[in-house]
Amino acid sequence: MSEAPLLELAGLSVDIPTEAGVLHAVRDVSLTVRRGETLCVVGESGCGKSLTSLAIMGLLPPAAQRRARRLALAGEDLLSASPRRLRALRGDRMAMIFQDPMTSLNPAWSVGDQLEEIFIRHGKGNRRAARERAVALLERVGIANAGGRLAQYPHQLSGGLRQRVMIAMALMCSPGLVLADEPTTALDATIQLGILQLLAELQAEMHMGLMLVTHDLGIVARIADRVAVMYAGEVVEEGPARTVFTAPRHPYTRGLIDCIPQPDRMAPGQRLGTIPGMVPSLVGEVQGCAFRTRCAFARPECAATVAPRHGPDDHMWRCVLPPETLDHAA
């Protein structure tokens, strides 16, 4: 298995000029997704996780400036690819599932037309083949009476069904890489579970690489092979899911895990762990560890540039603390 990773991203930065100065929304992010692997990118609002996925797809808003040392899909450089080539790749070789299916589906087009358009546009076949593929995928994502649904419009579907249509649309051309940005956040837990199971099954079946962006560590723990924790535009910890959850090395990761209500592990009336303070402004130069203003373990050397450290299994973290510091809290 020495083939090139499906997605290679190295040194990604996204800068957004604002009136107050340049906002460094994504800072030196490097990620890799292999075939058949699920990478979860986790972090809170404003940590840059959605911009990272948009930057990969080449769908950033015009004002945002993207810089990267490398961005490649199955070995093909995307940084130097022409807009025409990118349009050909998007929807075909890489696809994105957005959070809000109501705003990302076209309200004036029927479900069938939207699904078939992608297939035909990428030259996969004629209208009849597109229709067959659409029906097969709608059935695969658990929509009963798929043939009848093709004539329906997005507003006639429930939120869970719309999200399933979005997933089916992303899979129309069997892309190698699927980016899903909070695909289940607006949904009920029961529907969420159904959609996650579906993504996991389809991923195993089609041997896709899946990059799932979420703020929910519960989802991450259950579905991820690898986890990248983002804070203030930076990956502060990355590694195999089991390692990151059982032996986190960055205080922010530890804090996030402690924030989650787990009633069966807590005494009645026990308070949750919290992360005091607020996310720093990313306008202007950001010096040292961005988390140090909220960190209980902060020390003087945190103000200097923190080099990434590495452990077994490609575990990376950006923290100056001795690795065993956070173990007691587990």
Binding site: E44, A189, T190, G194, A221, A224, F245, C259, I260, Q262
Partner: protein, 326 residues
Amino acid sequence: MSSAPLLELRDVRRRYSVGGGIFAPRRELTAVAGVSLTLGAGEALGLVGESGCGKSTLARLVLGLEVPSEGEVLVAGRPIAGLHRLERSRLVQPVFQDPYSSLNPRRSIAEIVAQPLAVHGIGTPAERRDQVAEMLALVGLAPRHAAALPAQLSGGQRQRVAIARALVLRPALVVCDEPTSALDVSVQAQILNLLLDLRDRLNLSYLFISHNLAVVQMLAGRVAVMYLGRMVEEGPARQVLTAPTHPYTRALLASVLTPDPALGLPAMRLGTAFPDPLNVPPGCAFNPRCPFAFDRCRAEPPALVLREGGTLAACHLAAEAPTAAL
């Protein structure tokens, strides 16, 4: 507890008439289909269920924003719908999900929190200022936030403002409708801790609505599970959430994803039939999705029956086979 409970719902029903379109006849949608509940002073009741199960309608009925089609909502022994809105608002106050739309963007935080006092004519302006300062400190906001506008605050801070506004009249009952669903996990943790602290300090009662069972279990002593406008299970939180009786409660619990990487995605045993309040199936409303449904479930609606452990459950299966391994 010899006196009337703080909140009592007696077989409450709420129906809406919905237009189907130009040619379609108007149809009746039953959002709440006969719910009875009591909540004592200082208690917290968690209300859970999927979207469209009627939990938000129930919250609006308790707040007096909706009038029941049948049945009664009593707060401190009096029907809430018959009270003047000023009186009502001193008894029950809401905290809504979205702190971005529930605060007036053009008023300062101090004005927003002082507004209920002004409307009720409580205190002089100076006294109100003091009380607002006290409330802001109570919910963990700094004095400098008083002059700020909602747009200058983060989501968590706004939700603190909404809580301060709800508590400034010292209501006995606070109805929280998904108060942390729009917030990040770290902020959610802060708000949940705050709600726990405030309950201890002010002896508040909460009707706490959430789709997140872990959040409910942190806050609520009792839990009620709704499905298509009906109560399917109700009882002590620990009992309901560790030894659930109703297959729906079990399915809800199974879909909670705890951050445990040793466990994969749990199996989903619920049918995909989407619950449609305009088209409630005969018998048990849950039967099309229930993996254990049998003939009786499709014919006869189950009644709420008291089970051992002190929970009420509406399930034929639970009634017939009390120790069945569901």
